[in-house]
């Protein structure tokens, strides 16, 4: 399973990449695999919206499941990924790259400290696979 080293992870399988005070958020490879073929992505926030930690930023649907995506950090949305609406399958093919969901300016970078690093997330996932 593919888990990039430079990301932080939430227990609900979102990833966060912090560059300066801008955080990019998406869902992990493990999560997309669990959901199977994604047929629909709806980003439920817009640029300028303030979001709190664990509040909803997107919903995804596959044929068999529906999932909410929550922001693991608090902040103000600066950008959303419009491309996913027309190409939801990107979440399956490139979850850590092209399928980022939203970017936000974080209120408190220390919130990331509570998240898992790559190796912790790796073992978290393998514990759930059997």
């Amino acid at each position: 399973m593919n888990i990039p080293e430079n990301l932080k992870f939430a227990q609900s399988d979102e990833w966060v990449k912090l560059e300066g005070n801008i955080a990019t958020i998406g869902i992990s490879d493990f999560a997309q695999e669990q959901l199977s073929d994604i047929v629909y992505v709806e980003i439920t926030v817009a640029s300028g919206d303030k979001v709190k930690k664990n509040s909803l930023v997107a919903t995804m649907e596959s044929v068999k499941a529906a999932a909410d995506v929550n922001s693991p950090v608090s902040g103000t949305i600066t950008e959303i990924n419009d491309d996913l609406a027309n190409a939801p399958e990107t979440v399956n093919s490139d979850p850590f790259g092209k399928a980022w969901l939203v970017k936000l300016e974080v209120d408190d970078p220390s919130e990331l400290d509570a998240l898992m690093d790559a190796s912790a997330y790796q073992s978290y996932c393998s514990n759930r696979s059997h």
């Binding site: 073929d37 047929v39 629909y40 649907e61 044929v63 939801p88």
Partner: protein, 488 residues
Amino acid sequence: MTEPTIYELSSPGRRGVRYPDSDVPQAPLPTDFIRKDLPMPELSELDVVRHFTNLSKLNYSIDGGFYPLGSCTMKYNPKVNEQTARLPGLAFTHPLQPVETVQGDLALMFELQEWLKEISGFASMTLQPAAGAQGEFVGVMIIRAYHLSRHDTKRKKILIPDSAHGTNPATSAMAGFDVVGVPSDARGNVDLEELKKVCDDQVAGLMLTNPNTLGLFDENVLEVIKIVHEAGGLIYGDGANMNALLGIARPGDLGIDVMHFNLHKTFSTPHGGGGPGSGPVGVAKHLADFLPAPIVDIIEEGDEDTPPLYGFVTPSKTIGRVKSFYGHFGMLVRTYTYIAMHGPDGMRKIAENAVLNANYLLSLVRDKYHLAYDRICMHEFVVEGHWGDAPEVHALDISKRLMDYNFHPPTNYFPLIVPEALMIEPTETETKQTIEAFANALNKIADEAHSDPQLLKDAPHNTPIGRLDEVRAAKELVLCCWMPEQNA
């Protein structure tokens, strides 16, 4: 073979039915309101009849074969029910006629309320809910109204065991409640210790499916009910599995406060390819005032010479109405017919034989399939459709392969607490021979899963159409035969 759509069969100018010419003078049409076009197909009567007859041949049905769908109770739908529901005196009464002109309808509804009360042990009954899911909604709204009427406003939680029906969480959320799960113990009962932990003064109620979706009668049912009642909560009974309890136990006697029936499961009204259902709700005495309005009652007592006068009444603290009029009356006529033909002993025979058939079938397949909870089951049971030594085969593959043997698959992937669940309910109307033939097919498929798994992965092979591309359906979303812009 693909059947064209009615739009493809259309030929401009054709008519399937003719009406008499108008016998009154023409009134001027409201020209501002007249539509330019009505883009509907045009067919002859034979076109229409042949089209739908051809379509019907693509369906599996109870009339055509065995339908072992767990928790769906696909029993035989007696033909006499269809005739009684179509008696013109019943089928063509308008719901708003003066009550004096519909005493037959009202007597039937009143008596059916009485019968369902007797069968379930409840004090009052509404026939209004349109389906089981709406019955559930009514039940949960009644629980809400009950607590509010006592100014007990902090009860925001509904407890739902993990072996309950899939609709329960959505129903609770619709009624504005938070859902709290309760796990099962090693025997498939509600885990009493876990239940005690979540039972506090914020619990509005617990939704109990008993027998649960594992097909097991909860051995601690009285204890579960007591714990919830002591915390001030009420018990909602999901009556979808009532077929196992007819004449065996009355939910009201057990202490359940409110429960819905599924007439299209327990009482043999047809499923119709997905409805109409019917979901009457029974309540204990302390909840009677909250029932949806209106309900049928005697409004003038009769005597030896005159029958009573039936009419409608509104319970004093009613939660309101949940649909137009009084319920799915056509389904009530079928249910009335069915109960009338069974009587008290017949009721018990239904449950006894449904449970007998389930246990017999279980005895025939238990060597080849892993049982999640090994106990005497009620009207249904759950096996795992998966083997460690045939890892590529899943429950879905077994289901699809069953179609090649001319059987409808069981319920798949439910309950969620059993991995790769196959939930099987044979019902009381199937013969020993049918059950044996189905068991043979299941056992043969278990062997195929090990010897030739690809045969299962590619199944079904003998159906009118193969496995369909559901991802494409959900992405491209073609939801009608023609493009909407044609409507402009």
